[in-house]
Symmetry: C2
Subunit: 329 residues, 2 copies
């Protein structure tokens, strides 16, 4: 491994570093969803984070640590959209140029978010081009820094601040979480949260939520070693379609996560509809995977307990959201 | 006037009485909406209140004051839906029976909310029947108490707790509001908020937001006396279509509100779409009237200042929401 695996203290430092630069998102409850799930749900609405996802946390933590002299050359990121928006916003605030490499079929709302923050958008074909190569070439040309979307100690520590907040909020409610479910793409958020909870809520059991066909974390945790997804599998959960766990995120998650919950796209759509109806929240499919898991694929051990769920993002095109609502009628 | 006009102290007492029984809803911001509006917006997301609207506040404050001996006979309420849900939930919690008289064309989601809390639903025809008469008859038969939706001192004081919270939250941000915009139906919420701000933020200027054709508060404030709406006018804002200001709410509002902002249904739809896109919130049309006013009908004096907006509810049928999103494409 070429990078240092972050620890609880790195997350705590990230929390102090980005304080006041990201929103403290609320924890919500719904009597109706509790009844459906058969557990007491505590729902961290990270879709209400600025830029519409938790990604601003890691981006802010990473960019703040770039020395002044290097900031002018800017940053390059590749992302299906939420990391892109986090980086664009953080870069804009620090007066840094940003280039974002995004798949040409990314949601329009995510492209618009990047553009409106003044970042330069480079589109690539998901099937025939390598985003890593494109980003590396741009970075070389401009002496810019590539900011990975998950497998980076400062990104992981930054995302972990969501877990710090959640643990503190639960302490405020006098009710530590028995379980926490978080969706996984590359695993930046869940591994950061695992570090945070190790420090602040060590008895909480942590579960990965994943869409069918992209259950790499679930299978990796069962096998005890990294497993990949078959290429070409599709899912509505655009934000969390990553080939396999990252090096760092796996090093953190392998011993701290208890397993995975796999949900179908239809279950995710139903979770989006229930978040609309009972929480009054707009959640994108990937961002609703953990709620879908709590409602439809809850681990046996969690029944009847206090279960935390992260709603990770809300960047969904209006037409897609309208279609999902219409299907439920 | 047959009832005592409530004062700031009544709102403060209501705040202590219902503490822990209603949610403290978050105040959100959006850089994009600030740019559109040309002001700094502070958005109180009361659509995230339990039951999906602020109405639980007043209902809880009112029902808690019904003596134990009278609780068994229950309560009767008439409402287009949000007050209905507030009463149903508050009654359920206190173990009281509740009968709700609702128009037969009320949103399905509001009827479902009432039913799922175990209240008895009585439907009436908006055009040919009097909901007041129906409610009064039921109340007489059962010795139940009629709980009005706005023109009641305890309801007003309860809704005012939303203003207490907002003022405290703004104090926490170190930035008192210059202006506050709140939608008006009967005016229970805006008059309660006016009392709260008189105590905690007396320099805040308060404005009523109303849909075209239902601008009774706007015209009443201009005329200095109560004006009614012509019967039969329709609007998408089902929650706030009241014939005229209430007796108590007018007594409070007439000297404390500075005027009204009138918005079209199309502007309300656009506000619903922008809340979807930039706030990740589900807001019903009536609940988005104040945001529409901030975006499209802002009073000249408010330009460039700190403007508070209340999103009052999020109970909208999925098909209606899907249609509004589709129109914007």
């Amino acid at each position: 491994m070429t990078q240092t695996v972050p620890e609880f203290e790195d997350v705590a430092r990230a929390g102090r570093r980005i304080a006041g630069r990201v929103r403290r998102t609320p924890v919500l409850q719904s009597a109706e969803l509790n009844t459906y799930a058969g557990v007491e749900l505590f729902i961290k609405a990270e879709n209400l984070q600025e830029t519409g996802s938790f990604k601003l946390r890691g981006a802010t933590n990473r960019l703040l640590q770039i020395p002044d002299a290097q900031r002018k050359a800017g940053v390059v990121a590749f992302s299906s959209g939420n990391h892109a928006q986090g980086i664009s916003r953080a870069a804009k605030r620090l007066g840094m140029p940003a280039v974002i490499v995004m798949p040409s079929d990314a949601p329009e709302i995510k492209m618009a978010g990047v553009r409106s923050d003044g970042a330069e958008l480079v589109l690539y074909d998901r099937n025939s081009e390598s985003r890593e190569d494109i980003a590396a070439q741009i970075a070389t040309e401009r002496s810019a820094i590539v900011v990975p979307s998950f497998d980076d100690p400062d990104i992981i520590a930054g995302q972990g601040t969501c877990g710090l907040e959640f643990a503190e909020q639960m302490r405020g409610l006098g009710a530590p979480l028995d379980h926490l479910i978080c969706c996984t793409g590359g695993g930046g958020l869940i591994s950061g949260i695992a570090l945070a909870l190790q420090g602040l809520s060590p008895d909480t059991t942590i579960w990965a939520a994943e869409p069918e066909g992209h259950d790499d974390w679930t299978r990796s945790l069962t096998a005890g070693e990294v497993q990949s997804n078959p290429p070409g599998t599709r899912s509505i959960c655009d934000a969390i379609l990553t080939p396999q766990p990252g090096e760092l995120t796996w090093a953190i998650g392998r011993d701290r996560l208890s397993g995975g919950c796999v949900v179908s796209d239809d279950q995710v759509r139903e979770a989006v509809r229930r978040a609309f109806r009972y929480l009054k929240l707009v959640v994108e499919p990937g961002g609703a995977a953990a709620l879908a898991a709590a409602l439809f694929a809850l681990p046996e051990q969690a029944k009847g307990q206090r279960v935390g769920v992260i709603l990770t993002g809300g960047n969904i095109d209006p037409e897609v959201f309208a279609n999902i609502l219409s299907e439920g009628a």
